[in-house]
């Protein structure tokens, strides 16, 4: 009973309060004293989640913690387990193993209806026989709220997503973007402890997608609601997230801020999946602190940075060297750099702010550059020598 009342209190009516104290959403604050830790207590904590479908392990032991108010993205190719993980959190898919805690209580065995989680489905899953207002009012009706309270909150939620006056429209009378907003309002109106977004932008056209991205982001900031977002679109993930968990084959390959993932990928998969990457393969030579000297297959030597605290790389290890296409610069004759390659410009593609070059290296492989369009430019057929520093190149294990 007490829980019920407290939950009902945390609704959109309190949008304003949340703005003042975004992190202090009720149950998280009420979770009680925690052992001293540098990070705030996780709002959502997944531990050892496993889920098999027959012989296939969709989730092979996932640990994940989201901080209060955080926008956390699960990014991965299709089949990486990100949607399964979202369903496990929502309660539509029982995990074979592992525990889920939300706002300090174990919800592993709870029915979806009792989890206090708002979800926006990939195709919105609006109830086609109900008006926009009835759709948004549904979670309130299920919580036994009075008609007057419902009317107020539904109106507030519609206003929040910029759809005031659309109360009586049926889903099929709304555009894709409007349906998306109704779905968002419906997922937020009851003040859930967690918001789940399952590729909600996939069905929208490009321009609308950009607009919805910034709206979702600002709404999430204003409400301070912890959000778990699933996407296979890396640009979307980079644009929206506080942190990104890159998933591959049922595991989290790396979790970090967008910048971390781009600048310091921990695995070759992450390097290739996020942004564009030039990758060289070679064997580790001297490992010194966070630097490593690498002998390439071609026989050339390169120097690269290791992730801080990386103890996996040792002498003779099979390594992938990652250099992002905007890092190399052109070397003048006689000029040297810590790392260098040379080749012939094969192709230049104008992309607006940047130009993308494909350079055929002397060994025959392709190397990509992405330089500002207003800086120095190259023409196809030119012979170039390119150089970059140790800090511009990361070494990770090949396997």
């Amino acid at each position: 009973m007490g829980r019920q009342r407290r939950r009902d209190g945390r609704t959109l009516g309190q949008v304003g309060d949340r703005e003042v104290a975004p992190a202090a959403s009720g149950p998280a604050g009420a979770a009680g004293p925690r052992p001293a830790a540098e990070a705030p207590a996780p709002h959502l904590a997944l531990a050892g989640i496993e889920r098999r479908f027959g012989a296939v392990a969709a989730l092979a032991g996932v640990d994940l913690a989201a901080r209060p108010g955080e926008f956390l993205t699960l990014l991965g190719p299709s089949g990486s387990g990100k949607t399964t993980l979202l369903k496990v959190v929502a309660g539509f898919e029982p995990p074979d193993r592992g525990r889920i805690a939300l706002a300090g209580r174990d919800i592993t065995a709870l029915a979806p209806a009792k989890r206090d989680i708002g979800m926006v489905f990939q195709h919105y899953a609006l109830f086609p026989h109900m008006s926009a207002a009835a759709n948004i009012g549904f979670p309130l009706a299920m919580r036994g709220q009075s008609r007057t309270a419902m009317r107020e909150k539904v109106a507030a939620a519609l206003a929040l997503v910029g759809l005031s006056g659309y109360d009586d429209r049926l889903p099929r009378q709304l555009s894709g973007g409007q349906q998306q907003r109704v779905a968002l309002a419906r997922a937020l109106v009851f003040g859930p402890a967690l918001l789940l977004l399952d590729e909600p932008l996939g069905a929208l056209d490009r321009k609308l997608r950009g607009q919805m991205q910034s709206e979702i982001k600002s709404l999430q900031r204003r409400l301070g609601i912890t959000t778990l977002f699933v996407t296979h679109d890396q640009e979307e993930a980079l644009a929206l997230s506080d942190r990104i968990a890159v998933m591959n084959e049922g595991r989290i390959a790396q979790i970090g801020t967008p910048e971390d993932l781009y600048r310091r990928p921990a695995t070759r998969f992450v390097a290739e999946f996020i942004g564009e990457a030039n990758i060289f393969r070679g064997r580790a030579g001297v490992v010194s602190g966070d630097k490593v000297e690498v002998r390439l297959e071609s026989g050339a030597a390169m120097r690269a940075s290791l992730a801080p605290g990386d103890r996996t790389v040792h002498y003779g290890a099979d390594l992938a060297l990652v250099v992002r296409p905007e890092r190399p610069r052109r070397l003048a004759p006689g000029e040297t750099a810590e790392n260098g390659v040379s080749g012939i410009v094969a192709e230049a593609t104008y992309l607006g702010e940047t130009i993308r070059y494909r350079v055929t290296l002397d060994g025959g492989s392709d190397f990509f550059l992405r330089w500002p369009a207003d800086g120095a430019t190259l023409a196809p057929g030119m012979r170039v020598t390119l150089g970059w520093g140790v800090v511009d190149m990361n070494a990770v294990l090949w396997g």
């Binding site: 029915a111 209806a113 009792k114 979800m119 109830f127 109900m130 299920m142 099929r172």
Partner: protein, 279 residues
């Protein structure tokens, strides 16, 4: 010139293609129907209609028929809904088995099935014998040659007509919808009453119309399982033609039956439209 002929050909093609079916429909359906109407006004009077609607005997039969059809429709719905639900959620194999069970009798002659029911439902039929032997009853239940028998037989024949439309609608329901509802706090019962059931109503309406209209004109099953003690408008028409050779009156009854079917069909249709404006 050639352009003109080509255009003519293009315009004539649907006409040519459509002629045969149109001719067929007209000569085997519309024309006989027209003749039926003309016959029902035999001698330019409305006495046939007057008799059918004012004579309490015949009006009663008409009402009884409608009531019987409604009862059959309701029972079909109650039985078909769970069956359709199971089929739409079953694995491929079980769905195939279920459809086999449903379609096998569907492909068997109504006559054969009706006689089979006579064997099952009689005083010494399998049903009564089993119940007697098990001691559930001491007297054989009157299952044959009364309305109970007729209802059982008709439900058996008409059940697939109810299952298929409901099944088709259930298959099309987005599986995310019940999931979304439960995620928003709805108990399984409320997911069903607020989301799932309303979404299946169009199928239920379609099935109900089909079963009801067919049940209105049912002949063989009431004739055999009713044993002369259950009178429906179909039986009445047959009686008028065969025993009394009163073609005008039979035609008037047929026209009334048709009118009743159309009336109820349009009423259902209106209800369906009102209820599924979202489709």
């Amino acid at each position: 010139m050639s352009v003109l002929t080509r255009r003519l050909r293009a315009e004539a093609a649907p006409l040519v293609l459509g002629t045969l079916p149109l001719l067929f429909v007209f000569s085997f359906f519309l024309y006989p129907l027209l003749r039926l109407f003309i016959t029902s006004f035999h001698g330019g009077d409305l006495s046939g209609y007057e008799r059918a609607l004012t004579d309490s005997l015949y009006a009663g039969v008409l009402l009884d028929t409608v009531r019987l059809a409604l009862v059959v429709t309701a029972i079909c719905f109650v039985l078909a809904y769970p069956v359709a639900y199971l089929l739409s959620n079953a694995s491929r194999l079980w769905a195939a088995i279920g459809f086999g069970c449903l379609l096998l009798p569907f492909w068997t002659s109504v006559l054969v099935r009706t006689y089979a029911w006579m064997i099952l439902l009689g005083r010494n039929g399998i049903v009564n014998r089993t119940l007697l032997d098990l001691g559930f009853i001491t007297e054989p239940l009157p299952l044959l040659y009364n309305e109970t028998g007729v209802v059982i037989g008709m439900v058996h024949v008409l059940l697939p007509y109810m299952v298929f439309p409901i099944y088709a609608v259930m298959l099309r329901i987005d599986r995310d919808l019940p999931a979304a509802a439960s995620g928003l706090g709805a108990s399984p019962w409320r997911v069903f009453t607020r989301i799932y059931f309303p979404l299946t109503l169009p199928g239920a309406y379609a099935g109900a119309v089909l079963v009801f209209v067919v049940a209105l004109g049912f002949f063989i099953t009431p004739a055999l399982l009713g044993g002369g003690r259950v009178m429906t408008i179909g039986l009445l028409i047959e009686q008028q033609v065969r025993q009394f050779l009163d073609w005008p009156f039979a035609a008037a009854l047929s026209a009334l039956l048709l009118a009743a079917a159309l009336l109820i069909q349009s009423a259902f249709h209106r209800a369906l439209r009102g209820d599924s404006a979202w489709r």
